[in-house]
């Protein structure tokens, strides 16, 4: 009907949720949302702003100065140095930041390289901008690492950027410093931008350290980093995040951000201030919980070792087991839902290499994970 939306699909994750809503007693390990409520201190900060009557008006387009100042401080604690006045924009979640970024740096017909598998909405955002997503297969045998040769081969004259999330959703793996630096070098050689969505960077397990290219001044003028408060502080409904990069890039993204949303929701910006001022403690708590839930889901998957293989996640709250057989993952996910009332996400939603996999979220409550794994076991044992 409409030319622009012809190539865009409703996310498969949402499709699965819609299908699941038709059944009673469904356990969902599909949606990647935290099971926790927003910490009370953050809610109180927002509530105080409401009481003070400071949220009814637009903020400055790049966001409240006090929030951006706090963001600069928080970035500096992670060894990333950006000027809050000219290099940080508060956005309506990360998806707005990514859309504004892509609309800024591309022209219709450009190509954007994304890892395969990667977060399902990236493809749609890229297409919305009139660009073409080009998948670069990750190396599953090597813990879903980048394969530089594959990425190199994917680069064409039309390539504008390499765009990924780190830690990676759906695989729950982290790209190493070496991989990222090699990738940045490649981007440097081909004059490409690098866009990194680091929504899950606070949930890294097993004592691993996290590296962001934002820590390396050398790539400042081609590196654009996006972060959302959604996952780290259990604030998915607040729709608040930020994008930061060199002033020359941010100045241009600002124009698109202003055209898209004017400013991020002001009440959510106050909540974000609460998160940065008082939220660290909850991150620690959430991380501890997710690590426990990761172990729980892996124990369940280990019991299905003859039917499923998987890379143990070291971050985020996703695991992507591979199943035997040739049944398309969408069909399998629908079948699992119909037979044992367990919602999962078919791996194909995340790119061609996701086929023959399912994505399971361990961001859900412990009892859901236990029940979900019981049902998955029941399904595979009765359908083998």
């Amino acid at each position: 009907m409409f030319e622009r939306t012809k190539s865009i699909q409703l996310s498969v994750i949402k499709q699965m949720e819609l299908l699941a809503s038709r059944y009673a007693n469904v356990v969902s390990l599909a949606q990647g949302i935290p099971s926790f409520d927003t910490p009370s201190a953050i809610k109180r900060r927002a509530s105080r702003a409401l009481d003070d009557g400071v949220v009814a008006k637009y903020s400055l387009s790049p966001g409240l100065p006090e929030l951006r100042e706090l963001i600069e401080l928080s970035l500096a604690n992670e060894n990333m140095f950006y000027d809050w006045q000219s290099e940080i924009i508060v956005t309506a979640g990360s998806i707005e930041a990514l859309t504004a970024t892509l609309l800024t740096i591309t022209m219709p017909g450009d190509e954007i390289i994304i890892p395969d598998p990667t977060y399902t909405s990236y493809r749609e955002v890229i297409r919305l901008c009139g660009c073409e997503p080009v998948y670069a297969k990750l190396d599953e045998a090597n813990g879903w690492a980048f394969d530089l040769t594959t990425i190199k081969n994917a680069i064409s004259e039309k390539t504008k950027a390499i765009f990924f999330c780190n830690p990676n959703n759906p695989t729950g793996t982290v790209y190493s410093k070496e991989q990222l630096l090699a990738l940045a070098q490649l981007a440097e050689e081909h004059n490409l931008y690098i866009i990194s969505d680091e929504a899950y960077k606070d949930f890294i397990y097993d004592g691993l350290t996290f590296f962001s290219l934002g820590q390396d001044l050398k790539f400042r003028k081609r590196f654009i980093r996006v972060f959302t408060f959604s996952k780290a502080f259990a604030m998915t409904g607040w729709r608040v995040g930020y994008v930061h990069s060199d002033a020359s890039i941010i100045k241009e993204i600002m124009k698109v951000h202003d055209a898209l949303v004017t400013c991020a929701p002001v009440v959510s910006q106050y909540a974000a201030m609460g998160a940065l001022e008082m939220g660290q403690e909850w991150i620690t708590l959430f991380k501890k919980e997710y690590a426990k839930r990761r172990d729980l889901i892996c124990t369940g998957l280990d019991r299905l070792g003859d039917k499923l293989t998987y890379t143990r996640p070291t971050s985020a709250y996703f695991v992507m087991p591979k199943y035997q057989g040739t049944k398309p993952s969408f069909e399998l996910a629908v079948d699992i839902l119909a037979k044992v009332k367990l919602a999962t996400v078919p791996g194909s939603a995340f790119g061609p290499s996701g086929e023959n996999h399912l994505r399971l979220s361990f961001g859900r409550k412990e009892e859901d994970i236990i029940e979900g794994m019981k049902r998955l076991e029941q399904y595979f044992n009765s359908n083998s």
């Binding site: 910490p39 009370s40 201190a41 109180r44 003070d52 009557g53 400071v54 100065p65 006090e66 100042e69 600069e72 401080l73 500096a76 140095f81 950006y82 000027d83 809050w84 006045q85 000219s86 290099e87 001044l217 050398k218 400042r220 003028k221 002033a247 008082m278 403690e281």
Partner: protein, 254 residues
């Protein structure tokens, strides 16, 4: 009920923080302003650390946050148990906490009366005002009322103290009119300004791929600086911190 508990807690912590300050008698430097407080505090602290003066007071700046910072306690956030533990520990901390010889505190003001409260808790001997901007104006009712809040702070410093003002912001610069203490200025300027005894000027400010660079012109001398930071506010923080340190040396505080 919660409000009442907060008031009780606030005054309870106030008493013990006051006691700790009375016992340790640090030279209190208050950094206030609507923006750039934390970076300025950090710059002053890094200069002091470079001179071997150890500082470890976190950047809390509110009516409960500052007493906690003085007592070396962490916030209890939303846990009643933890607040009870804090209330238990506060009296002991008042007698045993070790405060540095020089304590740099942020004085936050987002509504009238905030600064008067913090002044009564920790009377500063030196004050740095970084900026007065549109921020929090809803609570103050206008820029003049906001500026008045900072006047109270400047006036609180006696003639033996020090007031350091950002000369680039008229509302801050005008505070010199109410100051009883030695008053000096910091500023970023594109003009070639002669060095003077009461101005710390940043000139030739530039952003490079590695951070910011410039020259600090003060006390009839010029020195180059480069910082692995981005934004003119870091140059201002550097200028403010230099003004504080040079004057503390002159005043033989350090």
């Amino acid at each position: 009920m919660k409000r009442l508990a907060k008031i009780i807690l606030q005054y309870y912590l106030y008493v013990f923080a006051k006691l700790a300050l009375w016992r340790c008698r640090p030279f209190v430097i208050a950094v206030a302003g609507t923006t750039n407080k934390t970076f300025t505090k950090q710059a002053i602290e890094s200069f002091l650390k470079a001179r071997g003066i150890d500082l470890a007071v976190p950047s809390f700046n509110t009516e409960i946050g500052l007493p906690l910072a003085i007592l070396g306690l962490k916030s209890g956030y939303n846990s009643y148990q933890r607040w009870l533990a804090i209330m238990f520990l506060a009296p002991f901390r008042a007698f045993y906490v070790r405060l540095p010889k020089i304590a740099v505190f942020e004085f936050g003001a987002d509504r009238p009366g905030d600064l008067a409260y913090l002044i009564s808790l920790a009377p500063p001997k030196a004050v740095v005002i970084t900026s007065i901007t549109q921020r929090y104006l809803e609570q103050f009712g206008g820029i003049d009322q906001a500026a008045h809040e900072y006047e109270i702070l400047v006036k609180s410093v006696n003639q033996n103290g020090l007031v350091v003002l950002n000369a680039d912001i008229p509302e801050v610069n005008n505070l010199k009119l109410v100051s009883r203490a030695k008053t000096v200025f910091f500023s970023v300027t594109e003009k070639d300004m002669p060095a003077s005894d009461n101005s710390w000027l940043i000139t030739n400010f530039k952003t490079t791929t590695e951070g910011i660079t410039g020259q600090l012109v003060c006390h009839h001398s010029t020195k180059n600086f480069n910082l692995k930071r981005f934004g003119i506010h870091h140059a201002l923080a550097y200028g403010a911190a230099s003004a504080v340190i040079d004057n503390l040396l002159e005043m033989k505080i350090i």
